[in-house]
Symmetry: D2
Subunit: 331 residues, 4 copies
């Protein structure tokens, strides 16, 4: 039974707490949060203790920590936890600074401790089925990937300002999805962005709508579309064209009911946001972490994966500013 | 080039006129109608002459007649036209009286002339693809057939009164569809009907909503649902469950556009009624008639098929009145 | 915190155990089973004790029992548990004998204890959304209901022999669905059945394919289709035609991926069987039971509902044998 | 009755011949082709005469000419026909040379004759419905457009070599679709392309897979994806995200049949290529031309539209070569 400490008891931390507690191979023993009450509430609910992050990391009884704190603490906590001999599952992104993330990667690598980055979408059953079909050669050789990823509504501008920008905060998931599905990093990144959803976002130096094109060494192409606003719900689709066919992963809908009237045929919307859509993915992610640990296999998403996605975000941020293609090799 | 006389220049006659004129192997040479102006208008449009039905039937230059007159004239016109050596395509139903239809069948059979009954739905590409897949064994042995057939709106009660009732006027298409897909007639018919759409229809002695169950000698079952009112459009679906799978033919939609908003996802309605849905089927029906004639092959829908469907309508009418199962062998 | 005893630790009992344990308002304290090891395994997993059913029922610490034992014990256990002051959630069907079920209902009613029957499909989010839309008048006045309910594969003939037959064992869910959606019982039942899937089932006196037509006092009609075999998975659909439109609840699919190749477009199958399809419904069912108890509201599915569905099964069984319509009032 | 001369009796010319002949307001009187037999065959079929292009243009009896000859003759024929007082419908593209097309536009404009360019997709009912909904404000303010346009199979390399390249030959339709839906030209064009489908295409100096991003003055973005090969059929989809929703136009399918088996659920492919998919669009295009002429209204697609799309193709060709964004204002 894996004894787990949870660092961060906010919204996403609570999702992880459920999965840690419900998993047959893990138990939640300690919880920390900058908000002591939040930590206490989660601890009580699952029979764990509230503690300081340092104490959790120092506790020899604890096997693994799940880092769900604010992004600016990720690198340091990963370094400390691995130095203390813990296995780590850290929420994405690794860091807002690519440079800092690389320092973290170097430090963590030296400890030899297993570290997984929480790119939850890799564990979505739909994207998983799409990838499995592609790997099985069902559409021949992949040639053109399209990722559509729209949030239902933009976050407050106050959040935007500290988020690192759309490419690091939001599209980083899609960069990882491209790496997951294409099996390697692209060679060049071209980005176009605008703040057409909300001019305040533009005033804060960020974009809210963006299209990024990725070019691969062998001629494959990927295109990622992001918008901070799709009023009908979380729009999360992937499409992969290959030499022998097309794979398409559509949205999950709230239910399967359709209604036909004189006004037309109407059906349910996509599930509202990531908590609705990716709840099964979070559980599968935790299960994959526990299994990899127990079976001594490599982590299914590595810290290198986290750094690679961050490098693409950095390149896209630069391309959107300069209007030019950016060679990924320089990062 | 097949020279064709058209008897009946009403709504459905005009549909046939287009197809006769457009077909590479046929030409429209004469048109009759009880309304002389209607006949004249169609004749002018396609370079044909307006004439009396008798004269068309007597004209030795004419090879085939298409009967699209009112139902009560079908039997007599078929008898006269075949006696005069014409090939005939006659609109459904053969007759409202099963007895009369049988007399017609006997008379027509003696002439040896080819006669086809206009069950247009057999030529719908969707139902055709479903049947082809079933015949190819793609779902193993068929076991349970479901036919959904709803009109967009009920006809005037004045029409209902002379229509022969829902089973002879509307469900007759579905009886033929069952025969087309199951490959033989059922042994027993059970019908339930009510006039829930419009009590006036009930007052006129008819039903507007009905479910009929057909039992086959080998244990197969078919169920047909009819309603005179589906406000969202013509609802024409077929579903066939077999030992190795299910085939489903869905509605044709007005277009492929969907709209996602906070209110949900909406898409186009089914095509409005039979002229929209079955226009390609009418053209394919005429082509099948011409090809069978030219190639000397049997008609794809025979007068026997028309009589068989009428017998089922008769049985269903009785079952709906008595509440009991009706043995089809007695008809 | 509701203290719950679980009677029956088989496949469905284990599903309930998870939900009882996971619910914030209930805790599993005791488990019984004719197989002592099965009870022990479940007890250990959730920190409960294994015990005899009698002891669980007699235990004053226990507030409610969930009956998931074999059908032949349902009535007696409900009677004993309610007599002992327990609230009860009992799996369907209430009993295979309508007479016995009525005796049980009378006995239970005298105790005044709340009893809920486990018609899980009422808690499926799709059927729930369909019903909510119908109740909100979104399709006007309902007129024609269609329930499609196919199992992926027939059970062993040994099970068929003790099951009470397709109408009591399988279609009983659909009878309850009809009552749930139509809001009242029908007046007449007409059934057609055959054993076309497996002649052994026919030899055992049962059918494996059946169509039942329900007639309502106001002219509404419902039709239920059952097959013991749909090789592509659990086929669970409902369609309701009203004066102003149609509601349709489609199947849940295994995933949202489609693949387009020269061979056509292929997509995922329906979820395999009831455990996959109705897992969320079972959790919602338990939640509804706990909430009704805690809030002192009537049970969302009553023992009367269970008896009503059983009466319809009885009527259908008779109709399938006699070939005649059966008046439900006589049951 | 509009008297029409058809220049070019190849595959697309024959499609136009049918529509000209079938239209109630037009008649085909003359046909030319570099292949005299081809012209003769079409002429015979529709009761027209075969003639030289010059003679058709010079014939005072002829009101309008439809130019469906090879692309390199378009500009000259448009100039001559308008100079001779004919109304013109000319197949796309206007010319492979933007410079030449501008000369043609200037010459044609002086004549004052109505000229329409055959961007048939504007008349597809699906894209038409999508545009109508967008113009009606049903999704608020449009922000992000996506056009997917894949051919079923690449043309011969010999064709590629004289085609002007993917951007002028294939994506020109999508540039026009962007202009049609966005209502104005973009300010900048960024293109990425590769020859991953067939290296021979790359050897011929062209690409077979490309993604183009269009930036608009107000911050809107459009992305166009092209591939010369989608083995499952002609993939023609449009998606438009707005401030209040998303519009999506999906493919037309060969039929509505789906099949569910143990292998999954399979359905029909998209219609195979442009002749299948856009046949109704070609008829609607001709009807729009005739109506605009008869009613004296402006052409629904102008020569300016043709030149605008060509300028975008030019810009994309350059961007794909240089890897840089290209300012459209310079063309």
């Amino acid at each position: 039974m894996l004894k787990v400490g949870l660092l961060g008891a906010g919204r996403i931390g609570q999702v992880h707490a459920v999965n840690i507690a419900a998993h047959a191979g893990s138990t939640l023993v300690a919880v920390s949060d900058v908000n002591a009450e939040a930590a206490q509430a989660v601890a009580v609910k699952y029979g764990a203790k509230a503690a300081a992050s340092e104490d959790i990391i120092a506790d020899p009884e604890i096997d693994a920590v799940l880092i769900a704190t604010s992004t600016d603490t990720h690198s340091e906590l990963m370094e400390k936890a691995t130095a203390a001999g813990k296995a780590v599952l850290c929420e994405k992104p690794v860091d807002l600074s690519l440079e800092r993330a690389k320092v973290c990667l170097a430090a963590v690598s030296k400890t030899g401790q297993p570290v997984m980055v929480g790119f939850n979408r890799r564990f979505d059953p739909n994207f998983g089925a799409l990838r499995a079909a592609a790997l099985a050669g069902e559409i021949g050789k992949p040639e053109l990937l399209s990722v559509t990823s729209f949030d239902p509504a933009p976050p407050p501008v106050s959040y935007i300002k500290v988020s690192g920008g759309l490419f690091r905060d939001m599209m980083i998931h899609d960069f990882d999805m491209a790496n997951f599905l294409m099996g390697e990093a692209p060679v060049a990144v071209r980005a176009v962005g605008s703040s057409i959803v909300d001019p305040e976002i533009g005033a804060a130096g960020d974009v809210d709508t963006a299209v990024v094109t990725l070019s691969y060494a062998d001629g494959r192409i990927a295109v990622i579309k992001n918008s901070r606003r799709a009023v009908y719900g979380y729009d999360q689709r992937v499409e992969l064209l290959g030499s022998e066919g097309l794979l398409n992963a559509a949205n999950m809908l709230e239910n399967t009911v359709s209604k036909s009237t004189v006004a037309g045929v109407s059906s349910a919307k996509p599930t509202y946001f990531f908590l609705e859509r990716y709840m099964p993915a979070y559980a599968a992610e935790w299960d994959a972490f526990v299994r990899a640990l127990v079976e001594g296999r490599p982590m299914p998403v590595t810290l290198e994966d986290g750094v690679a996605a961050l490098a693409m975000a950095e390149a896209a941020t630069r391309s959107a500013k300069t209007g030019e293609a950016v060679d990924l090799a320089q990062f």
